[in-house]
Symmetry: C2
Subunit: 207 residues, 2 copies
């Protein structure tokens, strides 16, 4: 039985598009059931609607970068109405708090454009360039109360070249984000993700 | 003209041995001119003597993990007596302070068994395993006043497997440490290391 995904977005939605495409092509055994955004102008909402997916703006009712209060309740309610099995953050620019975390414990993933624990927070690619690392990458992790600090599901590495700009590095990382986010969802769909001592042990997709 | 290396060690000296071997074989255009240790029982001292390299214990005169005071002066004096061009820390368990840093500015390298800035400090491999990262690695960097925080010269990546122990991961990383430490020294010897805005730009060895 195919997995129902709920995707939370704030921006242009490149990871969302990748998930839609891979769902349509059958590359992942999951379908995007609903897309929610805290930004009425998010291009991601347009992408969802173009693909015939319910795409809903829900007012976060706060200028702080958090999802709390009645808005939090509303997000959870809609996700449950659409029978979402797994919530995927895809450029959702708000910190998820306790109630939501409990509701979707071990069913809430995020993708971060760095090799965590390096370069948490915003502009991870820029941070990596400024630090001068020779490799960066992407991380899919479960979301917990520690921002960008939850148990790692998958990572991917990319080289950083000396003439890289934030754009060229971001593009290289983005290709890996799309690949490992899909792989993590597929592992989840196939029951290949095991939690031991708050760490994630993944089986191989072909095992 | 071959580079004179001064190597500072506290322990078993596996990286020292690699440098001695690669110097002897001609893989790097550098020779280990002198080995200094803050630990009279360091096995690294035996390795050096076996290779016919002056190996000197200099009492650090403090129980704190720092190199300061008269000991610091003595270390600098001996390194200069042996006309050391480049100082390589290889498991030297003391923090290097301002006077020494100034004396050997951009001529002082360290190797760290992690992909910095992740997992600074002691037991980096254990930290990586406990965090649950999927990749770790090694970093050669210039030493500055920020412990494990100086400009990166080279890095190497290794996978972390789910059945890894601290030993198996350390061994995998160590092979990369040996490779990139030698490469960084060779880049230095060939004048292929450039500093721009406190960051390191390396040329290729075959350029």
């Amino acid at each position: 039985m195919s997995l129902n995904l709920g995707v939370l977005v704030s921006g242009r939605g490149t990871n969302l598009q990748s998930l839609i495409d891979k769902s349509t092509s059958g590359e992942i055994d999951a379908k995007v059931a609903v897309v929610l955004s805290d930004n009425p102008d998010a291009y991601a909402l347009k992408r969802a609607r173009k693909a015939g997916i319910p795409a809903i703006y829900i007012d976060p009712c706060t200028t702080k970068p958090v999802l709390v209060g009645e808005a939090e309740v509303e997000y959870m309610k809609v996700l449950n109405e659409y029978k979402v099995d797994l919530v995927c953050l895809a450029g959702f620019m708000r910190i998820i708090k306790e109630n939501f975390l409990n509701e979707f414990k071990w069913r809430l993933m995020n993708i971060h454009p760095a090799l965590l624990p390096s370069f948490k927070g915003l502009h991870a690619q820029k941070q990596a360039l400024e630090y001068g690392v020779r490799f960066s990458g992407a991380t899919v992790h479960f979301v917990t109360g520690h921002v960008d600090g939850g148990p790692i599901i998958l990572q991917a590495v990319v080289p950083v070249y000396k003439d890289d700009t934030e754009e060229t590095l971001s593009e290289r990382i983005l290709a890996e984000e799309h690949r490992i986010y899909a792989e993590a969802i597929e592992l989840f769909a196939k029951g290949k993700i095991e939690i031991r001592d708050n760490r994630v042990i993944t089986g191989g997709l072909d095992e």
